[in-house]
């Protein structure tokens, strides 16, 4: 018997309408997420990487049901929640939480940290009112802050501490799933290391499942079991994170991997694949493989036919007509 995935997206798409384009006066559609299918098993961490603007945040918000899903289905613990109403989502909100990139912007500057952290308990009537201060103190300790920090305002904390507060708030009600959108991008490497360690500890202790969106491949490798690589709204390669980053098979993944700047001098570095060619627009995606305008391996087949995301026989999947050797 295979276990039920905690989260399953099937051909999930998200389209935005944008108006007032320079040329035609009519409104046009941006397909930010295009038929993405993925599963996240309980306890695992799925990393998501991809080009800026390829739809990672849009996908993350759809997975959290923070915005409408245009088409496709989304299941949480086997239940279809694609069209679930706000009322039906309310109990589920406890179980799925989001951590945002910019901790400063997601914390109301006029409220004390203790009040911010009490909200989840109050809104969901998760415990006795009298118990709340103890719960808040425990949460603060859990993320290596001090109970007396509850009296302070967000601006009195450093970037890393604010991110801890964001994490504490997401964890208040012991969710099953946490979607973290670039949670450490704004932090220096030492504080980043502290937060990554903290997220890993919390995963062990609370049995959490993460979807971890980031563009730092080393950080993604450190925290994830599997990774999904996105390009222009679609998943192009998935697999165990070590395999995907050490031996990428999709040409876009290979280009991404080769562009990582190495924090050392005088090390022989792999030749960087410079992506040239026209950047495709999500307003008007190219036919065939969406990467063909920039792919060094593109052929006539790639220009004509869109490759499907197919299992690669090694626990991953790949969408390419001419993948790199395994």
């Amino acid at each position: 018997m295979t276990a039920t995935p905690l989260l399953r997206a099937t051909e999930l798409s998200k389209t935005y309408r944008v108006g007032r384009a320079l040329l035609p006066a009519r409104r046009r559609a941006v397909q930010a997420v295009s038929e993405v299918s993925l599963e996240v098993m309980p306890g695992e961490t799925l990393g998501i990487v991809g080009e800026s603007g390829c739809g990672k945040s849009s996908l993350g918000r759809c997975l959290m049901k923070l915005q409408d899903i245009t088409s496709g289905t989304l299941e949480f613990e086997g239940r279809d929640i694609t069209r679930a109403s706000a009322a039906r989502m309310r109990p589920l909100r406890r179980e799925m939480q989001m951590v945002f990139q910019d901790p400063a912007a997601s914390l109301n500057p006029r409220r004390r940290v203790g009040d911010l952290l009490s909200d989840p308990f109050r809104i969901h009537a998760a415990c006795d009112r009298a118990e709340i201060p103890d719960r808040v103190a425990a949460l603060l300790r859990r993320v290596d802050l001090l109970p007396e920090h509850a009296m302070r305002f967000p601006h009195e904390f450093s970037g890393g501490q604010k991110q801890r507060i964001g994490i504490a708030r997401a964890l208040a009600l012991r969710p099953k799933l946490v979607v973290a959108d670039e949670p450490v991008s704004a932090l220096d490497v030492s504080i980043q290391a502290q937060i990554v360690n903290l997220l890993a500890d919390l995963r062990e202790e609370l049995g959490l499942t993460y979807v971890f969106i980031a563009h730092d491949l080393s950080v993604v490798r450190q925290i994830s079991n599997r990774v999904a690589v996105m390009y222009l709204g679609s998943v192009v390669e998935t697999g165990p994170v070590d395999r995907v980053f050490s031996a990428p098979r999709h040409p876009y993944t290979a280009a991404l991997r080769s562009a990582v700047p190495v924090p050392k001098l005088d090390v022989p570095r792999p030749a960087r694949t410079i992506l040239s060619g026209d950047l495709p627009s999500p307003l008007n995606p190219p036919p065939g493989c969406r990467f063909h305008t920039r792919c060094p391996r593109a052929t006539a087949l790639c220009r004509a036919e869109r490759p499907a995301l197919l299992p690669d026989g090694q626990g991953g999947a790949l969408a390419c007509h001419h993948p790199l050797e395994a």
Binding site: G53, A186, A259, P263
Partner: protein
Amino acid sequence: MPAEPLLEVSGLTVSFRTEDGLVEAVRGISFAIAPGEIMGLVGESGSGKSQTLLALMGLITSPNAVLSGSVRFRGQELVGLGRRALDRIRGRDMAMIFQDPMTALTPVHTVGAQIVEQIRAHERISPRAARARAVELISAVGIPAPADVAGRYPHQLSGGMRQRAVIAMALSCNPALLIADEPTTALDVTVQAQILELIGRLRDEFGSAVILVTHDLGVVAEIADTVRVMYAGKVVEEGSKRDLFTAPQHPYAWGLFASIPPLEGARPARLSAIPGTPPRLSALPAGCAFRPRCAHAHAACAAMPALTGEGGHRAACVLSPARRAELLAAGEARS
């Protein structure tokens, strides 16, 4: 003989009066930048990198801020200069890319209109030509469908696209000094490579100098000539890129290098991280501010260490050079 500096900063301090007392965000920083030099500025979140840059641009406007020291650009003192005179320099001779792109963009105009305005503020050029230039710039920073994106509002772009729109704006006048606060933090590595190339081109073609704040030491290794490391409002180490990468001297810098997660080889069970939290800037310990977190702290660290060293490679730490070499050889900067 080194070229005359383009920018010379001496004794720069920035403090804020708060309920908590005086917060000393920048505590007496001095450095010079030559034309064509790319300086990487790294350091802990909250160590004063952004406040330093804002002070250079004359952009610290809080009524509670107290600023002192001197900032000379091409020999002209900028501290205390009037707003009109500053406006003539800013945007044209000195341009800044802000850490938060929304600081530079207003939500009510399209990004194209905002870039056009920036170009026309400093150059006599027709609206049409400015518009064409704006679209060109948007394309140069790697945004697809540039003409279309020019017609969109900031909230209709992804985080990385907004950041690139701000970069396009800063590059629009080929400034002699580009001040960039984490310009590529929101970008994926392929786009980052493209932006770094643009910055390199600005230097090669126009001889521009660049101050680049980043926490990505890979970016520093790639593009910087010189590096400064900040901790608690002070520069604690400075030198050439080679100095910093081959023989870092300050224990805080060691901690930074050790914290970088590896992209290859075995995954460590835990990342190495500097223990403890950054100091409160309103209650700094006497002497070396890194003392409460430093594994090598001893009695001598209670006095403020000066920035000392040979050949432009200097660190603010009381450990003897011999002792530091010993610790470094024993693997201090390795994870």
